[in-house]
């Protein structure tokens, strides 16, 4: 068993060491640490405890990067073997499930932990800058490492259970959302139930909710980091969160091991889409599916990427139920007004639109690239620009359900329609839209460059953009202030920033077109 496992581990590490991008990524990461250091040094005159500032920046940056790695790097450990039809070969090579799991997950975990270790000496600099103790640094890295182990094993399980990398990433993301929102979610439900008189305050059920929320809170990395970064931290470096994470990680690893045979019985067929969830929806809609007419590419995207009419109807019903739940519960159990509930629904729908559109952006070209159908599209007597715009246009109708409920939320929320109107006329609102567009364009771009993880990569680049613009944005902010002062138009500065972002989007769109042609000829 261990010979095979070591062989897998050895292969993965060798491959990793040979790839230029691995080293570039590490250099980029070190550069990011260095940039944080400079930023801290630059702002140390204004802020007290520069060491604590550096320590906080590094810790939260790591938290974001580990979370992104969880939904991309770790969640594709086994699915990539399934998609390439090589899982069966690993089985034939005599590797048992435990060997495959250890071999595939350990190499990724080792690579990620190396990234964490490489920055440890830099973080120790925070102690010399002042405001942080060695105990805090050790505790933070123990917590982050435990969180990484947790995500690696959760990702491993979902990569066993799911057929496609995208589904595994989405499932891991769902787990993370539950992980972070479990404590406030339980407390919110408890509050509603107590307010509505469904359960007795301080009764058994109430205490159960409270204890469960407390357990989730103490097991959450977010709360742990908040505790660690407080001045005067004196707890053990290995706290409840570390133990909680390791236990849950172990459980997920066991689950992955036990269910390995069940989910990978037909390793070849595993990548076939005929039986998966979305295919069932597609099959359901086949009867009612229209035929392609003047915009066949848009037709294809609407029916085969977004799921067609059945999925849109299902989404409309689901969002409606969600909105109905908010309207019903907010007044009855939480004492919110209907207008406030409308605002909550509008925000929820904006989040849904962002998630949906980013998912479509990450797959519309990537799936064609993966299935090697891009040459067929390119060979059509249709210009590449038309192909790209048609594909994007085909995904547009899929946002209609969320848009409709957004409209409902805005109509009920008194300021909602004003806010929507502002989005049309105010450059500060355009800014939000343009940033979202930039993010989607970036996702499309990466989906034709990397094999997996385009979406997390785009999120990481956008996060980096926020940090860089925070560090180096002084000239821009200065320019915005000057424009505001001279023109008296408060939005003038934003208008300039919007122009910069728009230029970036247009430039990226050209590169998307170029990448499309390159990918087609490969």
């Amino acid at each position: 068993m261990f010979t095979g496992t070591l062989a897998l581990l050895h292969r993965a590490l060798r491959l990793d060491a040979r790839l230029l991008r691995t080293h570039l990524f590490r250099v980029g990461f070190a550069g990011l640490v260095y940039a944080s250091l400079i930023y801290t040094w630059g702002t140390s005159a204004l802020l007290g405890a520069p060491g604590l500032k550096l320590f906080e920046t590094m810790t939260y940056l790591n938290l974001v990067l580990i979370s992104l790695a969880g939904i991309s790097f770790f969640a594709t450990a086994i699915t990539e073997e399934k998609e390439e039809d090589t899982l069966g070969l690993l089985k034939l090579a005599g590797l048992n499930p435990l060997g495959i799991l250890l071999g595939k997950s350990t190499s990724r975990l080792v690579g990620a932990i190396l990234l964490l270790l490489v920055q440890f000496p830099f973080t120790l600099l925070a102690i010399t800058l002042g405001g942080v103790t060695l105990l805090q640094v050790l505790a933070a890295y123990c917590s982050l490492a435990a969180y990484m182990v947790l995500l690696a094993n959760v990702g491993l399980f979902f990569s066993i259970a799911c057929r496609r990398g995208g589904a595994a990433s989405a499932s891991t993301l769902l787990f993370m959302i539950l992980y972070f929102l479990a404590a406030p979610g339980l407390l919110t439900i408890r509050l509603g139930l107590v307010n509505g008189g469904v359960i007795v305050k301080s009764g058994v059920v109430d205490r159960f909710f409270e204890d469960s929320a407390e357990l989730c809170r103490s097991g959450s990395i977010w709360n742990r980091i908040e505790t660690i970064t407080q001045t005067g931290f004196g707890e053990s470096p290995i706290g409840t969160q570390v133990l909680f994470s390791l236990v849950i990680a172990g459980l997920f690893f066991l689950l992955a091991w036990v269910s390995f045979h069940h989910f990978t019985r037909d390793a070849r067929g595993a990548a076939k889409p005929k039986a998966d969830f979305s295919s069932r929806f597609i099959a359901l809609g086949r009867k009612y599916r229209s035929r392609p007419r003047t915009r066949p590419l848009a037709w294809k995207e609407f029916h085969f990427v977004t799921g067609g009419m059945p999925v849109q109807i299902a989404k409309f019903v689901f969002y409606g139920m969600l909105a109905g739940l908010v309207f019903w519960a907010s007044e009855r159990y939480y004492g919110y007004t209907l207008a406030q509930a409308g605002q909550v629904v509008a925000i929820m729908m904006l989040v849904a639109i962002t998630i949906e559109s980013s998912m479509y952006a990450s797959v519309i070209f990537h799936d064609e690239w993966r299935d090697r159908t891009l040459p067929l599209l390119t060979m059509m007597p249709i210009r590449p620009t038309t192909i790209i715009t048609s594909k994007i246009a085909g995904c547009g109708p899929a946002l209609v359900p969320a848009l409709l409920w957004l409209g409902v939320g805005c109509v009920i929320w008194p300021q909602g329609l004003t806010e929507l109107g502002n989005a049309l006329i105010l450059p500060s609102r355009w800014f939000v839209l343009l940033v979202a567009l930039l993010f989607l364009t970036l996702t499309m771009f990466f989906s034709m460059v990397v094999r997996w993880g385009a979406l997390p990569l785009a999120i990481a680049v956008m996060a980096l953009g926020v940090i860089v613009s925070g560090c180096c944005g002084s000239p821009v902010f200065g320019m915005m202030a000057v424009v505001n002062r001279e023109t008296g138009f408060q939005e003038g500065g934003f208008f300039l920033v919007d122009l910069v972002i728009l230029t970036l989007i247009v430039g990226l769109q050209f590169d998307v077109r170029r990448r499309f042609e390159i990918a087609s000829s490969q």
């Binding site: 085969f304 067929l376 060979m379 059509m380 087609s520």
Partner: protein, 335 residues
């Protein structure tokens, strides 16, 4: 698989007849070169494919076949040299060229969640065919590839051979004049290969020009009118199939079996008109007789043998295996 008589009434709409009289060669490649980094995929290649011909494009793995096909079908832009398809430059008239060609890549590029009909319908619409026209064309091409009964099946559930047929049907939906097929028979079982070759013969009969790549020359021997052999990016041969053996300087050889031994028979056979060489086969009463290219007179040979009073038991042409010729031409190895 449909037989030829079953397929005969089927005619691919709407404009399957190619006006070859007014056409230039279907493909004209002149001094074509393409490199990837320091490695030459195609180097100074020149060849023609006549309109209406079934032309084989043969070479070992990594010879430059797929790159050449991608260059011809406009997926890649040539770094040097020119390619004309029906007289139109592939760089200057990219869209016009694309309308006239159908390309089938060497891998299965399919939308697996679509049904066979939806797949063809989508491509038909993309090529601008009206709904009624698409219905007619899809019916025709499905009949041609014998997939009509599977028209509502999901592509994901089809076997490899069936997916290949659907892929061929997709190429035919737009009714191209030139079909570029990159190793269409690779991965197919012998029966599927034979069926595919039958379909290609049908298509040739309909006036299509077919440019088919393969790494096995003998596979195309009975099918193609002409062939181009490429190795390490260089064209080793381009011309008719029949002249291929002549090109390799192999003399036509026959096997002659005689009823009984005759004194000095080997020597006397060598003296007959046009005979270059005579060899006895394994000590048996059988001879390999090679002729000069300029004088291949088998009648004179047989008459001469009979005049000697020797009974002829067997007389067959010993065709040198095409693979041997292929091996001779492509023995350059990797550069």
């Amino acid at each position: 698989m449909s037989t030829m008589s079953e397929i005969a009434p089927t005619k691919i709409a709407p404009t399957s007849t190619v006006d070859r009289g007014a056409e230039a060669a279907a493909v004209e490649v002149r001094n074509l070169s393409q490199s990837f980094g320091e490695r030459w995929a195609v180097r100074n290649a020149t060849f023609n494919v006549e309109a209406g011909a079934l032309h084989g494009f043969v070479g070992p793995n990594g010879a430059g076949k797929t790159t050449s096909l991608k260059l011809i079908c406009t997926l890649l832009e040539p770094q040097a040299g020119t390619i004309r398809v029906f007289g139109q430059d592939v760089v200057l008239h990219q869209q016009e060229v694309r309308r006239r060609i159908g390309f089938m890549p060497d891998h299965f590029s399919m939308y697996r969640r679509m049904s066979v009909f939806e797949y063809l319908d989508f491509f038909g619409a993309a090529y601008g065919l009206a709904t009624a026209q698409r219905d007619r064309v899809i019916k025709d091409v499905l009949a041609l590839v014998d997939m009509h009964s599977r028209r509502n099946d999901l592509i994901a559930g089809l076997s490899r051979g069936m997916q290949q047929r659907v892929s061929l049907a997709r190429v035919l939906v737009s009714d191209p004049d030139l079909l570029l097929l990159d190793e269409p028979a690779s991965g197919l079982d012998p029966r599927a290969r034979i069926e595919l070759m039958e379909i290609l013969k049908e298509l040739k009969g309909m006036g299509k020009t077919i440019f088919i790549s393969s790494h096995i020359l003998s596979e195309l021997a009975d099918l193609c009118d002409s062939v181009t052999i490429i190795d390490v990016g260089r064209i080793k041969y381009s011309g008719s199939m029949s002249a291929l053996l002549a090109h390799t300087h192999e003399h036509p050889t026959y096997r002659l079996g005689v009823g009984a031994e005759f004194p000095d028979l080997e020597q006397r056979l060598g003296e007959l008109k046009g005979v270059m060489r005579v060899e006895r086969v394994d000590g048996r009463a059988e001879f390999r007789v090679s002729f000069d290219w300029t004088v291949i007179d088998t009648n004179a040979l047989l008459r001469g043998v009979l005049d000697m009073g020797v009974a002829v038991v067997s007389f067959t042409e010993e065709r040198r295996h095409l693979n041997e010729a292929f091996m001779d031409l492509t023995q350059g190895g990797l550069e």
